[in-house]
Symmetry: C2
Subunit: 302 residues, 2 copies
């Protein structure tokens, strides 16, 4: 979505507020999977086959770790490891996650500003049937989200302050785009940080969400299953009910055109377009359409 | 020296008590340079050109770190990094340094037992002329020990307890060998840990030291310069004065044969032999000679 967005507006006018509740300390290193995926993606360096990590990655460190039967279910590539080493070093030297995130995105030549949702630790905790509470990476990577979840909470969210500029960038933005991420475990943590949901409510007229659910399924990841298991309708209507107070427009795919009236019944406007971003052109068109829907005409394509 | 020793006695009868005052936290990782050098050396995996790190190492992580202008003066190879990741992970899970050291040496098939001198943090701090106090790796690696040192202390040594079995292995050993390491910054920290010097005094009759100084210079590293700067004679006589209370025998090189009477004047017996370990055979002969000097005849070579 962000790759589309930076095609239709200058990258330096875009600020992405990113989930950090997936962050995890592995081998003593502070790993921020969502921040890194956004950075590597915008840098054109992401491994497009997996959607995470770096293209052309090598795995010498992980292979060497096998000698020790060390934990290797969360695989960190050699080049990717450098990011975690740098982040950890800077955090231990007293830098904030916001500061080091900015250093990292600049080092990759990313023009879009990236803001961690909070510099304070927030951690997604899922209650898995037959197991109990597990952390996000345990759920998502180790268990490949192939389990039944009965509850999700965001530990630390009560005490977490939004990162510097998070609230002001929502307050000042010409348009706010809620990306088609998992509403429960990717957008959910942002909304759990004090002040973020309120800032969106105030910006509701300028806020547009793109549905991550197309024809009842998530194109990627467990959003549909999670929504169902937690009592939501795994459809664009379910997404609309989650976002209706925060966003004035929901963008849905043509495959769900027949559900537009039910989306509108939640109080949101509904835009029907192609949301399956199979090419940069589709992504750009989607971004253009979403911005227009909240009255923020994109700059001429450059 | 240890490579020589395990040629002349069964490896599983050897326990090496190793300095941990060089340990350093880098990028959040617990690095134990001396333990790793001993492990890799005994495993036959050490980089013989440098005397540290692994042979055939790759440097992808460090090269990638340069993107961030991260700290790269202390270079950690990719395969070596796996050791630090494993150690850090285990320490954070509650294992002691003694436990994880044993796991690592076993993973490398090292038959000789390795004991960190202490599971508590002890850190070598050097007062460098014109700079002030610096840590060991700053002095040794970043400044390449090309500076003038006016004092050395071992922070934490007062409170540090010797590692489990450290005192008993000295107490029970048939022979105790003080390896030809730097007396100030490699052997010094061990002696600063409560009880170790006393244990050696009690074992003095069974304790033999090998001089790291040959013809007034250290074969490797800054032992001679450090000894001079701290007011010691940078010679086998200076070494003898440092060890006379702890060891009954000093082994010196033929190049220093004329100083044997001065060594004996300190109260130590003096053995003159080839101490420059230019080949495995010389190392084995030196080990055999050292053990014999304290009445511990080596097992027949296997």
């Amino acid at each position: 979505m962000l790759r589309g967005l930076v095609q239709v507006v200058p990258a330096d006018t875009v600020t992405a507020v990113v989930n950090t509740a997936d962050d995890v300390v592995l081998h003593g290193l502070h790993v921020s999977p969502d921040l890194d995926t956004v950075t590597y993606t915008l840098a054109g360096a992401v491994n497009d086959d997996t959607g995470w990590g770096l293209a052309g990655e090598s795995w010498t460190v992980m292979e060497s770790l096998e000698r020790y039967s060390g934990q290797t279910w969360f695989r960190l590539g050699d080049r990717d490891l450098a990011t975690h080493l740098y982040r950890t070093d800077r955090l231990q030297s007293g830098a904030t996650l916001t500061e080091v995130t900015d250093e990292i995105r600049r080092a990759w030549g990313v023009g879009c500003r990236l803001l961690p949702m909070s510099d304070d630790p927030v951690r997604t905790v899922l209650t898995v049937e037959g197991v109990g509470e597990v952390g996000f990476q345990d759920y998502f990577v180790a268990r490949r989200h192939d389990v039944t979840v009965s509850a999700v909470r965001f530990a630390g969210a009560d005490a977490a302050r939004p990162g510097p500029d998070v609230l002001s960038c929502i307050g000042d933005a010409e348009a706010v785009l809620v990306c088609p991420s998992n509403p429960i475990v990717s957008i959910g943590p942002l909304l759990a940080v004090a002040g973020v949901a309120d800032a969106l409510r105030r910006a509701r007229a300028r806020t547009v969400a793109v549905s991550p659910i197309v024809a009842g399924t998530a194109l990627k990841g467990p959003a549909d299953r999670l929504m169902r298991e937690l009592g939501h309708d795994a459809s664009v209507v379910g997404v609309a009910r989650l976002y209706a107070e925060l966003a004035s427009v929901l963008v849905i795919d043509g495959a769900d055109a027949d559900l537009a009236p039910q989306v509108e019944a939640t109080g949101m406007a509904c835009v029907v377009t192609d949301t399956v971003m199979s090419s940069p052109e589709v992504a750009a068109a989607l971004a253009r359409r979403a911005l227009s829907a909240v009255g923020a005409p994109p700059a001429p394509a450059r």
